[in-house]
């Protein structure tokens, strides 16, 4: 039969794949869909840890995460998309897709190399997934730096945050409920602000291509 560890590893796999998928796809709606999946995977991972420890708080946190990361934030992002607008596609990212995919691969290897000592500290099935979380952090950062559209940068930011959350849970086996909730709401706040900015941006400049902003300087 399939035990906790198997499920945890599968969830981890999905968690990483969605991150790669965000790099792979050009369509912003598709990226947001991937975010939903990733949120669910994150919740699943946390939930499994909770179940395994028999820790109710963790399970609750997992539920909260599912609602927030897979429900609320993607919905907020969707609202920022005007249907049919040309902004729905990430045309010509700074680093082209093939290259960024290879970069993602290298980042993952780097993550594995980085977390090797950490995992070695107490090699349990849970910490074994740690590299995946770190990899997602790195990939999120990569998206943040190499994508032009403001919205796909928000997506990158959310990747980053998911990664950090996962890292926290996997490394320390759970941070207090309050902290987690607080952090999540900060993130929500940031996303809302960014979304508002995006809308204002389109209203004033007409595009959300960050490079266009240079023109505002002079």
């Amino acid at each position: 039969m399939i035990d906790h560890v198997q499920v945890l590893h599968l969830a981890a796999g999905v968690f990483l794949l969605t991150a790669v998928g965000v790099l792979w796809r050009r369509q912003l709606p598709a990226k947001i869909r991937l975010l939903v999946v990733q949120g669910l995977a994150l919740a699943a991972m946390v939930g499994i840890i909770g179940v395994q420890r028999g820790d109710l708080a963790l399970v609750l946190v997992a539920a909260g995460l599912a609602v927030l990361r897979a429900g609320v934030m993607p919905a907020v992002l969707r609202r920022a998309l005007v249907p049919g607008a040309q902004e729905r596609r990430e045309t010509r990212p700074v680093v082209d897709v093939a290259a960024s995919l290879l970069a993602a691969a290298l980042l993952t290897l780097l993550a594995y190399a980085l977390t090797r000592p950490l995992v070695a500290l107490d090699p349990t099935p849970i910490t074994a997934v740690l590299p995946v979380a770190v990899a997602v952090v790195l990939i999120g950062f990569f998206v943040l730096t190499t994508r032009r559209r403001a919205l796909s940068q928000v997506v990158g930011f959310l990747l980053l945050d998911n990664g950090i959350t996962a890292t926290a849970f996997l490394a320390t086996g759970g941070i207090p409920l309050v902290v987690e909730v607080g952090v999540s709401f900060d993130v929500l706040l940031i996303v809302l602000v960014l979304q508002m900015l995006t809308l204002r941006l389109r209203a004033t400049v007409g595009t959300t291509d960050i490079n266009e902003l240079r023109e505002l300087r002079d």
């Binding site: 290259a99 290897l109 594995y112 190399a113 090797r116």
Partner: protein
């Protein structure tokens, strides 16, 4: 004095005779005599090498031959392998050269023919050197003789002089590196012979310096990126039989040097060294094959493919050193065996390829793939031989290159437990590099064969082609036969490889075993090239039979003109050229290759285009970014130096005077 002694003596004697003959003989018979002598040298070397690999030891000391240290000759299995390869290649190439030079191709000049035997001799003596001084002397002799050979056609084509200049500079920089490294080593070891060096215990820092210097020096000879720039210039410009010797025999000695110094004399060393070797190897493999895939000059393409194959060998050596450093002797041995087997295989198919390319050059006077084509009708045998060599170079079964790449991959895909994160990250990447290299090599040789030999003539160049004389064909045929032997029965080399790896890194022998199927020590995977071949043949027969059975009354085959979409017969210019064939790959790898394209259009009127010119250049980027600044700086320096010399005798005398005065003053001042 055993067989090895006799072999080497014979080689020396024959080389001397050949040189003499070439100097005195009239031009008519000169290639014949020199070629025969050279072939003899090669044959003697082959015999000696085989004997040495078979386990016959040899050690000779000739104190009177060189001042100070004397000459020390030692032939162990490792050296023997390289001597055998060099000997075999030279034997074939020399015989081919007799026919090649027969009908005026500029290379029957006295100098070339006289130097040829000496060059081959040095190829044999470098791996047989048993002491630092001997190695350095033979190495330098090899560099000089090969330089003369590269410069053969310098009167006919100015590019040759340019290539020779690059070669001279690079090879001597390399020599300086080797000199510095080995002399420091010898000084620290307090002895000149290899035994003394083996016995020596160096401080880690010094060891690293020695290894680094050796890697630079020997690596430059093997065309290791970024020291490869001379290779794709010099190898194609030499006469084709010399190109074969350079590309199939001389480059190997770079590998020999690194293995000898790194694994044998220094006895391994930290993993860091070998990661560097591995990285450089991977870079060379990819960079070389990428440029080969883009090249449209047949011989330049082959030269770049040499860079690629040497890169693969260095990758294997790096992996071997890495595992050795981690104490994984068994895998290290497999990796090293893979590298050495690839040296042999590469020598085989590269000889075939360069010699057939020479036949094409001789028959058509051209080597630009964009102008060739349709040779398979005019030179069927040569085409068949080239196809055979290409199969080996593509590393596809049932070619001979496949076996060694299989060995290499086997050494990579069985990661030992607990050799640290570095291995865990490096091995998959190494596999990816090998795979991509293999894929691109396939594209490269499909292009070379399909565009150059098949299809229809793209210009008048191939139209006057005629098949080469029997002697040349026979020579290439022998090389091809050797490749076939390596392809179907690689296990015949098993004991030899096991012996070499056994005493290079001290592990139990029998790394590569088995009779029909290749078996590796401690690895479950097996293949059997010969049975694959048999199965393929059987399958072809079965298919033909099947086709007959299904079509009960098969219709008669008929010839028809090419399908031209109804609009008249297509002209040869409508065919894909080598350049257009490589275009998709060039786009995919544009970030690495950074091609320069210029499109200039002339308008007859705002609406009408008079003429349009599209030009694409693919300069060697490394050369562009790494070497050009240096060259510029050197030029500036020399220009400023010229100001000192304005031709007035007084000034020169003044320089001398003040110089000596300054010296004397210094002597007085310094106690």
């Amino acid at each position: 004095m055993n067989i090895l002694g006799w072999g080497l003596t014979a080689a020396v004697a024959l080389a001397g005779l050949g040189t003499l003959a070439a100097l005195v003989a009239p031009e008519r018979v000169r290639p014949m005599l020199a070629g025969a002598a050279t072939a003899g040298v090669g044959g003697a070397g082959l015999a000696a090498g085989v004997a040495a690999v078979a386990g016959v030891g040899y050690h000779a000391r000739l104190p009177w031959l060189l001042p100070l240290f004397g000459v020390e000759l030692v032939l162990d299995p490792l050296g023997g392998l390289f001597v055998a390869v060099a000997g075999g290649v030279s034997l074939v190439a020399a015989v081919y050269g007799i026919g090649y030079a027969a009908r005026g191709h500029g290379n029957q000049s006295r100098s070339t023919q006289a130097v040829l035997p000496l060059f081959v001799l040095t190829l044999l003596l470098v791996p047989a050197a048993g002491s630092v001084s001997t190695l350095l002397v033979t190495w330098e002799l090899m560099a000089l003789t090969s330089l003369v050979l590269v410069l053969t056609d310098h009167r006919a084509r100015p590019r040759v002089t340019h290539a020779g200049l690059w070669y001279a500079v690079m090879t001597h920089l390399g020599f300086v590196a080797i000199l510095a490294g080995l002399v420091a080593f010898a000084a620290a070891a307090g002895g000149d012979t290899f035994e003394a060096l083996r016995a020596a215990r160096l401080s880690p820092a010094l060891a690293a310096v020695v290894f680094g210097a050796a890697l630079v020096g020997f690596g430059s000879k093997a065309g290791l990126v970024p020291l490869h720039v001379w290779l794709p210039r010099a190898h194609p410009e030499a006469p084709s039989q010399v190109s074969a010797m350079l590309s199939a025999a001389m480059v190997n000695l770079g590998v020999y040097g690194v293995v000898r110094v790194g694994l044998d004399l220094l006895g391994g060393g930290p993993a860091g060294w070998w990661l560097v070797v591995l990285g450089l190897g991977a870079a060379s493999a990819l960079y070389g094959i990428l440029h080969a895939a883009m090249a449209s000059d047949l011989k330049r393409l082959l030269a770049y493919s040499t860079v690629e194959n040497m890169g693969l060998v260095f990758l294997a050596v790096g992996v071997a050193g890495l595992f050795h450093a981690h104490g994984e002797e068994r895998l290290a041995a497999v990796a090293l065996a893979a590298g050495l087997l690839h040296v042999v295989n590469h020598a085989g198919f590269k000889t075939v390829l360069f010699l057939t390319a020479g036949s094409v050059l001789r028959a058509t006077g051209g080597r630009d793939l964009n102008a060739l084509g349709g040779l398979s009708r005019r030179m069927p045998v040569t085409t068949g031989l080239f196809a055979f060599g290409a199969l080996g170079a593509m590393a596809l079964p049932p070619g001979n290159g496949f076996v060694s790449e299989w060995l290499l991959l086997q050494s990579l895909v069985h990661p030992p437990a607990g050799t640290g994160v570095v291995t865990a990250v490096v091995l998959p990447l190494a596999v990816a590099v090998v795979a991509l290299t293999a894929g691109l090599a396939m594209a490269t040789f499909v292009k070379a064969l399909g565009v150059g030999f098949f299809a229809r003539p793209r210009s008048h160049v191939p139209e006057r082609a005629v098949e080469s004389p029997p002697l040349m064909l026979a020579a290439v045929g022998v090389a091809a036969a050797a490749c076939a032997g390596l392809a179907v029965a690689p296990t015949a080399l098993g004991p030899a490889l096991s012996r070499v790896t056994g005493d290079t890194l001290d592990v139990a022998p029998a790394v590569v075993g088995g009779a029909l199927t290749v078996r590796l020590a401690g690895i479950a995977s097996t293949i059997s090239p010969v049975l694959i071949l048999v199965a393929l043949v059987a399958a072809v027969a079965l298919t033909a039979l099947l086709a007959q059975v299904v079509a009960r009354r098969p219709a008669r085959r008929r010839d028809a003109p090419l399908w031209d979409c109804g609009a008249g017969p297509p002209t040869p210019r409508m065919q894909y050229t080598a350049t257009s064939f490589a275009e998709p790959l060039q786009r995919v790898f544009a970030d690495v290759l950074a091609p320069e394209t210029t499109v200039d259009t002339q308008h007859a009127s705002p609406y009408l285009l008079a003429r349009m010119r599209y030009q694409r250049r693919l300069p060697d980027r490394i050369e562009y970014w790494l070497y050009r600044p240096v060259l510029v700086a050197v030029n500036a320096l020399s220009r400023s130096a010229r100001a000192l010399a304005n031709g007035s005798v007084h000034r020169y005398l003044a320089y001398g005077f003040f110089g000596s005065i300054a010296l004397l003053v210094a002597l007085v001042v310094i106690p």
